[in-house]
Symmetry: C2
Subunit: 697 residues, 2 copies
């Protein structure tokens, strides 16, 4: 699955009814759990205590995944591919290849402190919809509305932070239909406890990614510390040694990253025709670039490994999503759903009056987006500027903006520089994680070339950025000339405030200053002509949907905590029965069937200790739970609140879950709790860890 | 180098003067050799006999490379990467992995007949410029001019074929400044004699491609047969056992594929801004697609190997060329050259009157091309339709068009269906080479998806092609439904003529019929609004250039036989001296420096027999000869007409040779004749072959 996920061939199936949830559908809010559904289908009643326990046992990795507490002493389990960021940065720091060798701390003393990871635990949820909406008057222009909303959100977050000292985020739900305040307990001292070899965790590699049957030990363990000691944790998941069985009801508590099930047809078409093809071209471009860099030496390969993997994973995911959007059968189903809703709105005078034009307003925002799409992507982006693919540039931009934004009232700042988020931002900015200049040159040179291709060689802005050099030459002089790889220097510059930034002769700071005004300008256009109108239109659509179908619907995923549920269940593919689980022993057969060659080559540990292993132990299994990228590392939990597995992927048929739910073949893929314990004991001699998990310490 | 070639980082250098040739520049016509240059700089006079001998010893592989005769018994040497097409198809046919194992025939009986290769030897050249130009009247519309030129060219070729029985091609030179008739002796019975393991031939793989120092045994040997017996060859190159030395004058006789040195600035900009980025996105897309297919199993990898390699190679090449076009220093130099010529034309009333508007006319053709670029690329392409990336589709299109075109007078046919070329076309069409349906589905599905992205999902043509399916579903039904993988069936359909094609229910034939009218329409627009005006404009530019600088200039490369020359010579890079040659022994050090890992892992033969080898034998070497993709496999020849090496690549600094010559760092890379003999004897026990090469049989 890999933080975000999905794959390639589309099989169409029985799809859900408009506005209604069916079968095991839904990524539910913890403050609006699917109580009736669970009662009706499974006779299960999730109590307040059960929900609170599960909620507080769940953790979010800010680098993009989920996890859970699995002992009272702060032990956290997540996927190996979620932990990769930490594992690799630790390797860089200590000059070790933990991805290859794996890692195991035999005692607390041997646990290794991660370089820059942040972990969040959701403490409370408060509905702020009325307060936010009250601040945004219908008479305001998009720009005023944007400012007013940002101001009220920044204020709410700051008030909450001051009051509770907890990380406080106002979350937009239903694309603007609701605003909830999420308060998180935050851990920044995270230490690596155990990681298997990547060859075991990601056995089958890119070819097996998003496939099933699978044989992956995609787990690793960290421990959170407070004040230099393992944190005491009240809510953690007890380990189910037996694990789940075929047909059993299970729950998934995690952070699905993003779905688009409430998107209008025209917006889906906009994504199909513009944003997906652009993103895929960019991803393939970077995948080829990093592969070519990696092939030059094993040290290069090590440096680029995590980033290359993330592109390969995203490519497979986006290809699958795009294939779904290019499938007329799926799009026609979505069209029919939309028509049903529109007809119902049109038939209700009040709904029609208030929300009848919402679809057209969404479409208008997409049209406005089209006009600035490339410029916005290159200069600013929704996550990073595609024209400046460089960590040094990103740090420089943060420094420049931090200096500017810090001088403004909290309410007026750019979203990500609000008081409430500053600490997390600085954690990123001052990270001691290694930055490799050769890799930086390759990446920046390529992205400057992309910008030249897309904006044109004669474009004023491009010429200013390149300063008379070719993209490669310019990237070389910028990277070799900058001193920003030094975290202490960045700290010093940040402490020096506006003056220090203005006076800096660092070429990357100078570049970030040069780029800042045009980048802010296109961001402003984006926010005013695209983001704000779209948010308002989707807000209306949410109200229309509530009006027609009632409030009992779940919002699209937003990388915040959700509860999904489903059955442990195999499926049929091409006439063949795919059983609910694989076994540890099957791993050896799968390796053999692929000639034992990379990425199907098992690590030495697995080969040497095969005899010690109970080969019929369940290993990976599938369920109908409604999950998506971001759910990676989510605990799979039984009725008793015990941990029975950990989500790590979706199968190839789950690709369409981004915009439509199906449980005919789409399955979530997990590692089974029994398989984890058996592997820890027989292959890794990790008896201390196994005992801590089983509560036998 | 790989059939076409070039790389990544640009180093700017002393560039040539406009219109003049300098240093060792030039890809000269055999009927206009650089006699004065050679006399002045090297005191060498190439006699008529010397030129004829070299010309007739040179061969062209129609699949895209060069080679030479190296014995009286029809032995041909070329690069392993040029022979790859044959080697792989033979492997498919015989279920062997010759790329991995290599191959050696110990006697004629063991030589393996290639599946569908064609080899050409240039017998004569005749200037047809006047006859072609006379047929095209100034008063004709572009469409009429196009038809008239095609008619006269088809007629010349047909007359020549009838008269001489030789393959007869009218070649456009100087972008339309001259037309020469080339007559070729053709060989279609080609048999594999010797090929090393790919691990030795392409040691260093993609990372070392376009790099130097190098350590590659990039050679293989075939034998041409006539009437079932080894062909008797009058002109072949004697082997120089000593090979060349540092500083020596050498010649390269081969088929450079394409250069753009006479392109106008505005046309170079058109390529920089549109055609290169599009081609690179397409190549990266297919590279990722095939890599992902290959990673699934070793059999998949074997099936896609040659095609994947060709994308990797083209990507590295085009990236390098694009980097050159994105370098302001190079473009400014080209601008200055162009200005110098334009000023001289402007200063001469007659030249100005006749040719003064030629630059604007080239620019207008580029503008017209822009308008139809994507549609033309997808439906027709200059080599293949990018929207239908499928061998089955290509065969179906050939069948459909063959049936249509055969019914027309020769002079009116599409260029590639003229009588003179029919035999070669049928060799392709009826090839017994294996077609793999799984690979076809992957490729066709992706390219249909590309078409949907670029033309739009609602486009009429796209909807007709997809017939209500998603691209993947449609590709699957087309490939699995078609019987065209059967060569005998294709033969039968072709023999059945128009009626058989009209009646065929084969879904790929039906698709090709559906696509044909729109594809021909966009081709017609392309030919009339882009190709013909551009050809006329460049024809004028060539005349202008002749008028200013005289006739002693060479035309851009056209994949026809050319003579280059230069010195064996090292260079300086980043302050470091790079010597003229590497040694066989250096190979082992290079492998060790890269951890002996793929693609730096030497084959078993090299490891086992290291002790038998004279390690200080020269292996690969560099020279200043002016070569480019297509020159792969060209013989390197000394003053005495003896073979001293074989071209297989250009170094990373040679990237700019596409549009500008430099000899400061740009170098052609060759395998040394002494290294070849030593490897054949010590590693491969190929004593019989070595003796034949040395004329000791």
């Amino acid at each position: 699955m890999k933080k975000i996920c999905r794959p390639l061939i589309v099989v169409l199936v029985s799809l859900v009814l408009p506005g209604k949830t069916s079968a095991d559908e839904g990524m539910w809010l913890f403050n609006h759990p699917p109580a009736k559904l669970l009662q009706d289908k499974y006779g299960f009643n999730p109590t307040k205590e059960w929900l609170e326990h599960v909620q507080r046992s769940s953790v979010r990795f800010n680098s993009g995944g989920s996890g859970s507490f699995v002992s009272a002493d702060g032990l956290v389990m997540t996927n190996h591919h979620v932990g990769t960021d930490c594992i690799q940065k630790l390797g860089n720091q200590l000059k070790k290849d933990f991805m290859k060798t794996g890692f195991q701390a035999k005692s607390h003393d041997e646990e290794l402190k991660c370089v820059d990871e942040e972990l969040n635990v959701l403490e409370s949820i408060e509905d702020m919809t009325e307060r936010v909406n009250a601040a945004v008057k219908p008479t305001m222009s998009p720009s005023e509305a944007q400012m007013a909303r940002r101001a009220v959100i920044n204020t709410i977050e700051k008030e909450s932070l001051d009051k509770t000292k907890l990380r406080s985020d106002v979350i937009t739900l239903y694309n603007g239909g609701a605003y909830h305040l999420y308060r998180y307990r935050k851990f920044t001292d995270l230490r690596m406890v155990f990681a298997p070899e990547k060859a075991a965790a990601f056995f089958g590699g890119d070819p097996d990614n998003f496939e099933y049957p699978r044989f992956d030990l995609d787990v690793c363990f960290f421990r959170v510390y407070e004040n230099g000691k393992p944190a005491r944790i009240e809510h953690y998941l007890r380990w189910s040694k037996e694990g789940c069985k075929d047909g059993e009801l299970i729950f998934v508590s995690g952070h699905p990253g993003r779905t688009s099930r409430l998107d209008t047809i025209q917006y889906l078409e906009f994504r199909r025709d513009l944003t997906f093809p652009f993103a895929l071209n960019l991803i393939r471009r970077r995948e080829v670039l990093l592969k070519s860099y990696s092939d030059k030496s094993s040290e290069n390969a090590r440096r680029a490994e995590a980033e290359l993997f993330s592109y390969q994973n995203s490519r497979k995911l986006l290809l699958g999503m795009l294939a779904g959007l290019q499938d007329p059968a799926i799009m026609n189903k979505k069209r029919a759903d939309e028509k049903a809703l529109r007809d119902k709105v049109a038939a209700d005078a009040k709904l029609k009056e208030s929300y009848g034009d919402a679809w057209d307003r969404v479409a208008a925002s997409a049209t406005a987006h089209k006009d600035i799409y490339f410029r916005h992507s290159l200069l600013e982006g929704e996550r990073a500027a595609a024209g400046f693919n460089s960590q040094l540039f990103q740090k420089a931009r943060m420094l420049v903006r931090l200096a500017d934004e810090s001088g403004k009232p909290n309410a007026e700042r750019l979203r990500e520089y609000g008081e409430a988020g500053l600490e997390s931002l600085k954690q990123q900015l001052f990270s001691k994680a290694e930055i490799y200049s050769d890799l930086e040159i390759v990446k920046l040179g390529d992205s400057l070339g992309l910008m030249m291709e897309m904006l044109g060689a004669d474009n004023d802005f491009v010429q200013k950025v390149l300063a008379g050099k070719s993209p490669q030459q310019r990237a070389t002089e910028l990277v070799l000339g900058s001193k920003l790889a030094d975290a202490d220097l960045r700290k010093k510059l940040a402490d020096g405030g506006h003056k220090a930034i203005e006076e800096s002769k660092d070429p990357m700071i100078e570049l970030a200053r040069l780029v800042d005004a045009p980048a802010r300008a296109v961001r402003k256009t984006f926010e005013e002509t695209v983001d704000e109108p779209k948010r308002q239109a989707y807000g209306s659509l949410a109200q229309a949907r509530f009006g027609v179908y009632g409030k009992n619907i779940y919002p699209d995923a937003t990388f915040t905590l959700r509860l999904a549920f489903g059955q442990v269940k195999g499926y049929t593919d091409g006439g063949q029965e795919i059983p609910w689980a694989t076994t540890l022993g099957g791993t050896y057969k799968h390796a053999q069937a692929h000639g034992n060659k990379v990425p199907f080559e098992l690590p030495g540990s697995w080969i040497e200790r095969k005899d010690r292993m109970k080969l019929d132990t369940p290993y990976n299994f599938v369920s109908t739970a409604d999950v998506i990228g971001g759910n990676s590392g989510s605990p799979v939990i039984n009725r008793n609140g015990e941990l029975v597995g950990i989500i790590f992927d979706g199968n190839i048929q789950s690709l369409v879950l981004d915009f439509i739910y199906t449980d005919e073949q789409a399955r979530a893929v997990s590692v089974h709790s029994a398989g984890i314990i058996e592997a820890l004991r027989s292959i890794y001699d990790a008896e201390v860890l196994a005992k801590e998990l089983l509560g036998k310490k």
